[in-house]
Amino acid sequence: MRAARRLLRRLVNTAMRRQNDERLREEFEEHLALQTAENLRSGLPPLEARRQAVLKFGAVEGIKEEYRDQQGLLFLETMLQDTRHTLRRLRHAPAFTITTVLTLALGIGATTSIFTLVHAVLLKSLAVANPGELYRLGKEPRCCYENGYSQEKEFSMVSYDLYKYLRDNTTGFSELAAFPAIEPRFGVRRSGSSEAAQSYPGEFVSGNYFSMFGIRAYAGRVFTPDDDRADAPPAAVMSYRLWQQRYGSDPSVIGSVFNLDEKPFTVVGITPPGFFGDTLRSTPPDFFLPLTAEPLIESDADLNKVSLHWLDLIGRIRPGANPASIEAEMRVELKQWLRSHWGEMSADERAKFPEQTLFLSPGGAGIISMRAEYEHWLQILMTVSAFVLLIVCANVANLMLVRGMERRRQTSLSMALGAQAPRLVRQALTESILLSLSGGAAGLAIALAGTRLILHFAFPTVSGMPGIPISASPSMPVLLFAFGVSLLTGMAFGIAPAWMATRVDPIEALRGVSRSTARMGSLPRKTLVVFQAALSVILLSASGLLTTALHRLENQDLGLNQDRRTVVNIEPRLAGYRPEQLTLLYRRIHDSLSSIPGVSAVALCTYSPQNGNQWGGRVWVDGHPAPGPNDDNSAFWDRVTAGYFDAVGNPIVRGRGITEQDTSTSRHVAVINEAFARRFFKQQDPIGEHFGRSGMGASRQYEIVGIAKDIRNLTYNLDKPTDPFYFLPEAQHDVSPDAGFTEISPGSHFLHDVVMVTKPGASLALAQVRQAVASVDPNLPITALHTLREQVAAQFTQQRLIANLTSFFGALALILASIGVYGVMAYNVGSRTSEIGVRMALGANRSDVFALILRGALALISFGLLLGIPLALAAGRFLGSQLYGINQYDPMIIAMAILVLGSSALTAALIPAFRASSISPLQALRAD
């Protein structure tokens, strides 16, 4: 308490620069006067009386100093002094200051901007109450459907029936909420408005979803379990983003009716800003609907399918509950639920019953599919930017060392005059930390711009759609990170020079250092250059590898013809079409687009090649034994209209493609790709054979009429053999007898892509395309319009971003390393001027001197490059999966990196070498 009061007083004194010197002087004076008077009284002569008084008082200056130290805070005062001193010194060296701050800003800015992403994607919790209490089902994120009564490794997705069973029987959760792993799009139109429907992402959630997260409505109300009953009036909750951006925060939105896929829903409330649902993704939901509303919207509803698992679970545990015991409880419940469905289980599933289990994992970050997807590339970028920061540190340390050398005389003089070594070190450190903090401040600005740019390129937003909920503006942890990094950087590059400064022998230095040939302190600087060169080799070879990989990805043979092809994305579902109306609609769209001059072919399909989406499922081949539990009998499929194979340039190698003759009444046919033939028919001729996709009993569903050449439809697995694929005519509807003669997967009839081929030399006006579609139905939304080439290129956005960023960092490293070499060599030449003068006076010619300097540089650089080779190999290993099959130890790329770095560093060394060879011996010897 007393100490605190004292500290406060001293702090105030320091802050106010209160100096009571006058008071002290007066007190001393009075003290002496009184003592003198006393001495006089005891009989001493006046002069002696005064002398005795002063003697008795003690050393006045010493006491004054002690008094001053007591008065303020010594530590703080010297720090302020040092800071002022440093600022003054830096003002006198503007070139040095600006270079250093800019270099630091680049390094710290790059690191901070990558950290912003790392923080948002990998570290941050959901914006909900007490995220630490949340637990989700499953260890690995899984998507999107699991069928039956067994799941591989763990039961991580559940059906609505199983969800209700778990929710009602698990006691450890205060709330357990469910929502599907996939994110549907709804065609949205405000009731009574005449505008065309617009597509927004949405999510079905259980009634306790918001209360589980502890989320309150921003306006209106959120769902209660009452909204999630089959007989409840249809309600919806809108996102703050949509409410604000699209409806201008209009309060009348709450309570008004919106048509979602032509079904009326009343908006009851708005979510708070910052809440983006349960999963960080590039399109957070704009509409939340109760789970029980799913059958209202989806004609092929999943809600009441007991064995279709499509829901993710997140629950909030009761305070003090133990997640491990909840997990054990739920495992028992899972077994109980499975046992209650024993009758419906296949023999296979019964055999797998004992190994069925489930896991809980912390759910504070939500469903972390994005984390899994981006973790590796964020790690790469973080490592790369850390390397750049290290190079920056090395460079600045080098500058500081040179500066320290130049100040050697001043330092010597200070020490000779009695300055203490710790104080000198502190001054030097103050300087470096001050520099790094200002570098950090400038770096924050760079980071802000950099993050914006990266977000823009990594997650391009479509206008009107929600963007990824990652804010580029720095949050508290990011600010702390930048501050910490700046401080560490300052210490890292400051400590060596500061320590060097005190190792100066005052006498040696004052005697005239410039005559000496001993190059003191050149070792640390050389080490730094070697270190920089090695790091740069890593960065350059990494960027070389990534760029080569990208180049190979972009230029690989996908097997399809990308020239003169345009893809139009349409959403007939949003315009309220029903599956049975679609064939006619497609006919009209085909005719309308075909009539545009210059268009040679038009075809529609569920998804065109490299669209990014694809339907997939298991198939059963007629006459083949039923596949075992471990047999992979899955294949991808597509619904297409007549002329599709010509339109995408996919050649038919045998039989025929889909034609106008394949109508709803003709026999059901399919075209397969070569991979399908290889996988399922091996030596057998597939033409005329049958297969189905609804189980063993329906294996004569389709007759194979043709085989198409393998092309790359999928955007992934590009380094693996092509997957089996089959194509069905759009006009034919599958009716399965065991599903009660209802259509199976009617959703596949909603074709999303129209592929148009133009005649050579003809150009296609996009306005014409829009007009042609609008002439068929003005309400039919076109969601996107681009060339097939653009669609293919869009798949490599992330790879391109990593490659570009790494190349940028690599170039930065190259420049910094070259500057480093230049700095060291220039300084060497400068300090050896007189030595060179002597050499030349003794008969060395210019080329000797030139070679001398260059040899020094060459030795440094080659040492660094040699050191870099094993590190570059390690970097290739680290990049691993990002390289898509190219050799991660590609010697050509490493050789290129070394060549580029070596030549640019040598170029940097040429300038000082030339300067050295042009030294005039006479001047050099006369100087100083």
Binding site: R2, A3, R5, R6, R9, R10, R23, L24, E26, E27, F28, E30, H31, A33, L34, Q35, A37, E38, K56, F57, G58, A59, V60, I63, E66, Y67, Q70, Q71
Partner: protein, 101 residues
């Protein structure tokens, strides 16, 4: 000691305190009188004493120090502490004497 002096004599200037300490100690403690001032400053910063300008015996401006309530409390606490430690040490010496006998 400075506190006790102020407690006994009331408000006093620096010289007075120094003199008093000398007198009490019977000139056994002959430290430099000047060192008193940093101590006074520390006590003042801690709030144990307060100071104000006043007139000295020879009618000059002098800084007078007086004890505050906190200071009195501190003095009592320190007196008690000191007595306690003195008593303990005293007992040690006494015990030693008995053992020797």
């Amino acid at each position: 000691m400075a506190l006790k002096t102020l407690d006994v004599l009331g408000p006093l200037h620096g010289y007075g305190i120094a003199r008093r300490i000398e007198q009490i100690s019977g000139d056994l403690l002959t430290v430099n009188q000047g060192t008193l001032y940093p101590v006074l400053l520390k006590l003042e910063q801690e709030g144990a004493i307060a100071s104000a300008w006043g007139a000295s015996e020879n009618n000059r401006r002098a800084r007078f120090y007086r004890l505050t309530r906190d200071g009195r409390k501190q003095l009592r606490a320190e007196t008690r502490d000191w007595k306690q430690s003195a008593a303990i040490i005293g007992r040690f010496f006494a015990a030693k004497a008995e053992d020797l006998r």
